[in-house]
Symmetry: D2
Subunit: 308 residues, 4 copies
Amino acid sequence: MTDGDGIVLGTNQYGKAENRVVRVYRDTPRHRIRDLNVSTALRGDFAAAHTDGDQRDILPTDTQKNTVFAYAKEVGVSSPEEYAVALATRFLVAAPSATGAQVSVQEYVWDRVEVDGQPGGHDHSFVRRGTETRTCVVTVQGRGADQRVWVVSGLQDLLVLKTTGSEFRGYLRDGYTTLEEVDDRVMATSLTARWRWSGTDGVDLDAAYASVRQQCLAAYATTYSRALQETLYAMGRAVLGTHPQIAEIRFSAPNKHHVLCDLGPFGLTNDGEVFHAADRPYGLIEATVTREDAGDPGEAWTAVPAFA
Amino acid sequence: MTDGDGIVLGTNQYGKAENRVVRVYRDTPRHRIRDLNVSTALRGDFAAAHTDGDQRDILPTDTQKNTVFAYAKEVGVSSPEEYAVALATRFLVAAPSATGAQVSVQEYVWDRVEVDGQPGGHDHSFVRRGTETRTCVVTVQGRGADQRVWVVSGLQDLLVLKTTGSEFRGYLRDGYTTLEEVDDRVMATSLTARWRWSGTDGVDLDAAYASVRQQCLAAYATTYSRALQETLYAMGRAVLGTHPQIAEIRFSAPNKHHVLCDLGPFGLTNDGEVFHAADRPYGLIEATVTREDAGDPGEAWTAVPAFA
Amino acid sequence: MTDGDGIVLGTNQYGKAENRVVRVYRDTPRHRIRDLNVSTALRGDFAAAHTDGDQRDILPTDTQKNTVFAYAKEVGVSSPEEYAVALATRFLVAAPSATGAQVSVQEYVWDRVEVDGQPGGHDHSFVRRGTETRTCVVTVQGRGADQRVWVVSGLQDLLVLKTTGSEFRGYLRDGYTTLEEVDDRVMATSLTARWRWSGTDGVDLDAAYASVRQQCLAAYATTYSRALQETLYAMGRAVLGTHPQIAEIRFSAPNKHHVLCDLGPFGLTNDGEVFHAADRPYGLIEATVTREDAGDPGEAWTAVPAFA
Amino acid sequence: MTDGDGIVLGTNQYGKAENRVVRVYRDTPRHRIRDLNVSTALRGDFAAAHTDGDQRDILPTDTQKNTVFAYAKEVGVSSPEEYAVALATRFLVAAPSATGAQVSVQEYVWDRVEVDGQPGGHDHSFVRRGTETRTCVVTVQGRGADQRVWVVSGLQDLLVLKTTGSEFRGYLRDGYTTLEEVDDRVMATSLTARWRWSGTDGVDLDAAYASVRQQCLAAYATTYSRALQETLYAMGRAVLGTHPQIAEIRFSAPNKHHVLCDLGPFGLTNDGEVFHAADRPYGLIEATVTREDAGDPGEAWTAVPAFA
């Protein structure tokens, strides 16, 4: 791996990113869909490809793509997590030089179109729900008895806003402080969260996703917030408190500032009524809530953007 | 406007684009919000600013911005359309050299967070709904008795997908044709629509938006589609058939191609089950559905992107 | 086109958008490339497709795509404009029901990688130049002796910034004015321009593009600006003054505000040294500079975003 | 940090992201600019803010923002790296509970506008150069004699394309392989790289950036590539071979696939002349080139996206 000058190959990985797979289940007239964006990565001893251009150990990213599409049929998508485990496990079979495989999935969720006289919505017509994306990152390491599987589930870009029930006061001051304390403000964020499973045996992962999302929303709504940090911590406690198989949850939350407009020059009051929704800069608050006995995360977070 | 060489100023306009206004109604504990992106433009005789740098007739874009925020309080936002009419009318008062004003609004819609034991959702916590944006473009021309007002309402980026009930056959062929006919396909689009009102007297514009959106969704779901054109036409007829004060509706619909994967090389069948959701290129289908007696649109569509 | 209720099809068009064509010229070891994004649209009598789902007059967008790629070889890309004229003309041959065709091209420009000892850069390795995109929109209407061709060339997203030589004073004031006059400011924009040719006979369109771009840059740099309007007008005069075959030019220029930071609270002066580059809102200044005898633009601007 | 149920706060950080600072040096008529996007983050013992909403140890993100702008004047921006070191060090002084601070900077590079008769370009008018962004991430940990500083420099989105000199053959095959070998192809990427300095004493960081960028471009151009992996390794060796103070370099390179179009159905040959530039999926190749004696990176890569 070296040319004698002490310059060598370090860690590396490769795969096919953003395979846009749509899986339709049409065994009954009431179709179901899973709309996915799947990225794969293999890790291991691929030095020859780098140093000598020798591809003999390389399972091409095109083959990884084919497997992604084929497995949508062959294995199916009972949940993004289970489908990702199947794919990552397959890659370790197909590529003997790989020591680990990571598969990331984004899922776009669709609702059925509501049509008069069709309770529960239309059989085969759908409209995209919300702004958030469901995610998972699955990492499989090793083979045989030593094989380890880590599952991280998540959501990204869940846009929430509260018009009151938030303050920001009593903070540290220095010579660069100009901010005034506020005891009532708009607080908004675009929440990203990732939760690591200690194990998924017996877990209905679709139901778990809906539950975690709802726990986050409810904690956001009902927590009086003295800082976004406090809200994130409350969300994390709510999720871990109700899901014993979740070992830890990581949040990344931009503080989407809503600036109260000064309407005084125009002879108008503004008691929390008119705000400018600013773009940049934004606060960025990131935190982990974990069980004390969460255990070593192993490779669960390798190459996953921090914090979420 | 000329320097004697026959090169002159032509049409022009200026304004402040993308004012991000959030208006909170908090007169009761059950808050309401309007989350808006407002753009303004003035037209008229502003030649001196161009040819001589003379700003005396120019109402600065900064002042337009201030008015946008002040009017969110002073006039309020009973609907994006009514707020835009108030703003455009104001600009013609403030800028005597302006002959016309156009105000465009995008509205991001929020749902209340569902919390246990709070029927109808939380009082002051919200979560963004869907992917689509509500829009309007209001144009006001002239002053006094000659003043004319045009209102165009719309929606953009309404993502819909149907897994069956669509075919594409019997088309024109030439030497560059390779496409094979399909009698069952996925059809998906990100719908943008704009509808011009012949008048808005007595119209509940919030209710009308919900109704037009639902008409489009239902027509999309229930029309067997031999082409995206046919679906757009059905949508347009549904909307005009139920809203007598809408003079015309314009659609722009990218055909978001879902390509059936060939799984044959892997010994798998694929009966409409696994698709690749392609990015580019995409079909782009644009059509207007109008009343025969719709009348001259005047300035309603000036500087509005075609078709929608 | 009607179902007897007075609701009918209005204007419509369809085509294939964003075909990403890369054409490599490799007849000598010194390769050349044209990197294009091509969108097509056909207009005419396509009512049956809308009202009855009858596709017999429809040249599929898939066929339009095939033609786009085939013509990159068959006709070649001597300039984006000439290639677009060939395509639009072809579509009118292929689709008898079409009365007009419009082809839009974006071109991404590449420089050769500089390598030691290779004057003029590497033979076949390229690096993307600048932020701006070259554009054209070609419209062909009619057939035979009546056929008309309109060519509009352009550039978009040319990012420029000047650190002095700009003021903003003497503007109209009203009750919503809070802006203070400035006699020295940063002025920045992301320029988009489109220029309509009265004819392109004998014009080297690649050279013309480079010249117009340079005229705009030089006018921007050397014009003392009392408003962005004055700068646009100076650019337009410079372009029309040197290119007699350009009939008119349209500019769209966001005023990318750079706000002087108040460093006073920290005991610091700020004499035009530290700015916050704001995102939104932004001024949007749009203007046309034209020849008095420019003549009727016909269909040149149909469905082209205003102003540029 | 616990409520007795074993659920506790884990790692966390907070700061102000994307402060858009433009610093103008105008001490001579020939102005210079630094156009920056600055993000800050503090780490340490901020548990009380999460668990009790107690802000007493929290230096607000608003104050961090003020410091970012003030330091652009007070300290200046001799290079993004030196400015970031000053900021991170300052934050550890200002926030006693912080144990570490990380400051990330993106820099947008501008060229002078070329104007007739002004050798070297215009004094105060600029046009944005290229597509790539210069980056750095600086991490400062601890205080006093124990304080450690890590500097990572980088570039992102350097778009390169070569029209020949690349093949892909001899790869591993399995039951999902359909890819055919190619011995001549277009290879393109949007390169992101980050290099960690073992130390920056005596390094001209602006010159180093230009040099690393040029090393990457030249290696890309002149390496015959049997895989993108081989090209990345060649780049890394070139950079480390010429910059002894760089300990390691990490690359992330999407393989922007250019698919040869099948023009056979139209009776045309296509000898590497017409390609479709595909969007998704794309290969994603990531690799580190390092010195064997690079030493422990410490906190240099904490919270930095892998690989680059």
